[in-house]
Amino acid sequence: MTTGTTYPWAVGYVAGDRPQIVTDRFQYEDSYTLARYEATGGYDGLKAALAKAPSEVHDDVRGATVLGRGGAGFPAGIKWGLMPEGVYPRYLVVNGDESEPGTYKDRLLMERDPHQLIEGCLIAAYAVGLSQVFLYIRGEMALAQERVGVALNEAYAAGYVGKNILGSDLSVDIVLHWGAGAYVVGEETALIESLEGKRGEPRLKPPYFPAAIGLYGKPTIVNNVETLSNLPWILRNGPEAYGEIGTETSPGTRMLAVSGHVKRPGVFEIINGSTTFRDVIYGEEFAGGIRDDNDLKAFVPGGGSAPWFLPDQLDLPFEGRPVGAAGSMLGSGAIMVMDSTTDIPAAALTLTRFYAHESCGQCTPCREGASWLERILRRVVDGEGTRRDLAMLVEAGSTICPGDFPHAASERLGLEASPFPYKMTTICFVGPSAYAPVHSALTLFPEEFADRVAPNGDGHAPIPVTVTSSAGGAS
């Protein structure tokens, strides 16, 4: 029996008996309206911020250690401090491009509580002097665009956004913008390129760290929707209260989606740091266990880019360091669960196909390597592969990520973990992400491939993958 409360208007979300910092208003059907927002503490965080000096607000956010929720987990307060001193204008670009496989949380936050996000943007703008905000929503999210648009119209009319906000010196526009379908645009420098009206191709870092050289070459903060949605609560309740939830290194809560072969797939706001994968997959207040009481075969712990975990890793907590040491990453809060019936090579193929399809084509290892990975894996899945194909998968993968690739430990295989991260020859993580599922599947389930391929085989042509990147290697 699973416990927790669901609401027909917040599809997928499951409320629980624990602190709900960013999802508390989901209980109200009209949570996206200004009236409900104001009746439930809305814009009080902004008012509290305006009563302080900007640097004090920055200190509050730094003190709360709000880890970025977009994937990299970098603390927001520290990121804000990386902008070169005294250089203006500075911009804020909100990353609402949510499209990492398995990830479903930012869309809910935008659809169900757009004012919370708007308030978070204003707090950030006030704290570090951001002159204009661009709220970039994924193109395929029509309802989120609608809800955020209506909320902005209400907020402008009520004096929360625009000139002299609430009679203060704070004057900032928030411009609603949306994309047009390209996963790689979620990468922060690609997001900036796209917002400049260009193809969404990631820029090289260095030198293009957004905090230094961002939108129009100016200092720019890119933050995820969930990251910013935490700020109103922190300003209302103080960083100490935030620190009382979760652990010292991972305070507060975080949202995550558990999908795949579980009894109750759902989006949960969990206590950060201390909650374990076993809790969220098996706990009655969470996903409630594997469907049909099957055995768990493997799970993706942090979005499609993350190397896979086995039942061996269930007791790891949502804490970046141990998860990295165990061979994967927390990423975007997306857990995809595969039960004993899963065809592992086929599951890996759906993810590799995704990244191959989304490659922007700038780096040769990603453009060519990912499509070769897809093609070879497809013929293995179709039963037309050979042993040689398996070696070719590894060969193609090593052109993208030379050296050891992270993977989980397996007692069954007598395998020790290889820690995160990896080396890479590409500009961004799309190339490596195409390899991650292939590598995990091959390493953790070798028998499923052995059964599938013809024993000998020089039948297939070698892969012409070029080792050097046309755009130069970044890491």
């Binding site: 609608e146 526009d173 949306w178 260009k198």
Partner: protein, 206 residues
């Protein structure tokens, strides 16, 4: 004709004015033109090029990067069925197969009557509601093959016209910035001074 019409032209000017650089409005304007015509025409791209002061080739180069922009007519309804892992684990393959059978087209194709275009899509941020699909970017969750058939029947019967606008329309309410509250875009070359609410540097050192 398939340049932006007068109403959309004035909207386009409003949108351009919100950005520090006109070119930043390119994707919003491409959406506007797709909303007007159902797809992005060459004339519309030429018009947008004029409006944001770049060449047509630059508009084309940008537009073709993005999957949502169509350069030839598509159905009034574009049905996107997700095929990424969470959906694949819970029956997306079967759903796509059924859609191809019922519609009589392969993924990527449009029905003969021009009503429905079928596409296999990637992760739609609804992974807990697998398998899922979108019709003109409006969601349907945990769809069974029979429910899919019903959806197609409803689309054909025209009973969803209120709920689902024709392909090209995303949010139906636009952002409106009242003139008296509008700060105006802050251009990168415009100012090097700190904004009004930031104390002078010597005061911030603590």
């Amino acid at each position: 004709m398939s340049r932006l019409n007068d109403a959309n032209l004035s909207l386009a000017r409003e949108i351009i004015a919100r950005y520090p650089r006109p070119r930043s409005a390119m994707i919003p304007l491409l959406h506007l033109s797709q909303e007007q015509n159902g797809y992005v025409t060459e004339e519309a791209m030429a018009h947008i090029a004029e409006l944001v002061d770049v060449t047509s080739a630059e508009v084309y180069g940008t537009a073709t990067f993005y999957e949502m922009f169509k350069f030839h007519p598509v159905g009034r309804y574009v049905v996107n069925i997700c095929g990424t892992l969470s959906c694949a684990l819970l029956g997306a393959g079967e759903l796509i197969h059924r859609a191809e059978e019922t519609l009589g087209v392969r993924a990527g194709g449009t029905t003969d009557d021009g009503l429905i275009t079928l596409e296999q899509a990637e992760c739609q941020a609804a992974c807990t509601e697998a398998p899922c699909l979108q019709v003109n970017y409006r969601f349907r969750y945990r769809v069974t093959p029979d429910e899919l058939d019903q959806l197609i029947a409803d689309l054909r019967a025209g009973s969803l016209t209120d709920e689902i606008p024709p392909h090209g329309t995303l949010a139906r309410t636009r952002q409106q910035i009242p003139a008296d509250r509008w700060v105006r875009p802050v251009a990168p070359e415009e100012t090097t001074a700190a904004p009004a609410w930031m104390p002078a540097p010597e005061e911030t050192s603590s």
